[in-house]
């Protein structure tokens, strides 16, 4: 398999952590297909990847969109053998005020998407007898965070899914892992109020936010041959704010 250029699928690759992952996987020699929810986002991805990949529109929250897009990618570029389930949203609110939509949108986009996208990619990996599924979780899935019950529930679910799928597919040389970032400098954390930011930094031994590239390098390692004996685990990239 190693002579042939492998295809990697990275969901939510327009910006932030997803973009850093797409770029590092491309640096590692994979052909990267990044997904976005808009044509504009897909064009941004195609632009920064250049010859090393492409951008497509796919809504991870929609069954039909995922099935059609993965089929199209497989026909056009080859079946994705590296899948990075990164796309995610937040709809923060304290539980007493949380709307049903805020709950279900987060669960659907951040957790149910793993069912859709992974299932669509697993046939190809099974056939190839080689595959890497890497799910982007969050330190919040382990520690919890006030105002993020929906997000924490989804990310805790992501890690359980990771462990179960790793057991299911180990015999086919498919590894399944999660990477759980702490607080990373992205649009998602830029939205935090200043006071909350300061309080957060106090709880991080390294005293700073992480960079998307520092998360992406953990993902790239899991996708590499060197990461081949690691499965069913969660790698924490959080500056020490949670030490399992």
């Amino acid at each position: 398999m190693s002579e042939e250029r492998k295809v990697a699928l990275v969901t939510g690759a327009t910006r932030g952590i997803g973009r850093a992952i797409a770029e590092q996987l491309a640096d590692a020699g994979l052909f990267v297909v990044g997904t976005a929810t808009s044509e504009k986002g897909a064009a941004t991805i195609a632009d920064y990847l250049g010859e090393r990949g492409t951008g497509v529109v796919m809504n991870v929250a929609d069954d039909g969109s995922v099935a059609d897009t993965v089929k199209h990618i497989s026909e056009a570029h080859g079946a994705p053998l590296v899948l990075v389930n990164n796309a995610g949203i937040t709809r923060d609110n304290i539980m007493l005020r949380m709307k049903a939509d805020e709950w279900s949108e987060v669960i659907n986009t951040n957790l149910n998407s793993l069912y859709r996208v992974s299932k669509a990619c697993l046939k190809g990996m099974t056939k190839a007898r080689w595959g890497r599924v890497i799910n982007i979780s969050s330190v919040v899935g382990t520690m919890g965070n006030a105002g993020q019950a929906n997000y924490a529930a989804a990310k805790g679910g992501v890690e359980g899914f990771t462990r179960a799928l790793a057991r299911e597919l180990g015999s086919r040389n498919i590894t399944v892992n999660a990477v759980a970032p702490g607080f990373i400098q992205t649009d998602m954390t830029d939205a935090l109020p200043e006071a909350q930011r300061e309080a957060l930094l106090g709880g991080i031994p390294l005293g700073r936010l992480g960079s998307p590239a520092e998360v992406a390098s953990a993902v790239a390692w899991l996708a590499s041959d060197g990461g081949g004996y690691v499965t069913g685990t969660t790698i924490h990239v959080n500056g020490g704010m949670f030490t399992g």
Binding site: K123, T126, K127, E168, L169, S171, R172
Partner: protein, 77 residues
């Protein structure tokens, strides 16, 4: 051109690593041929490829014996 029975038998031998003489028509993939649930999914994938057809999940779950596989292919080709 081999018969459908022969082509199905060949795929089962390859996928499950069993002897051709064990692939009797009444043999069950799981009980008689030692397949696990992932093996049966892969077997269906191999049948799809060989016979250039798509077998929906709900039909695939019913294909549990050699005869059932042959019958499905005959009915859909």
């Amino acid at each position: 051109m081999s018969s459908i029975e022969e082509r199905v038998q060949k795929i089962i031998v390859e996928q499950l690593g069993v002897k051709p003489e064990d692939v009797k028509s009444e043999a069950s993939f799981v009980e008689d041929l030692g397949a696990d649930s992932l093996d049966t999914v892969e077997l269906v994938m191999a049948l799809e490829e060989e016979f250039e057809t798509e077998i929906p999940d709900e039909e695939a779950e019913k294909i549990s014996t050699v005869q059932a596989a042959v019958d499905y292919i005959k009915a859909h080709s």
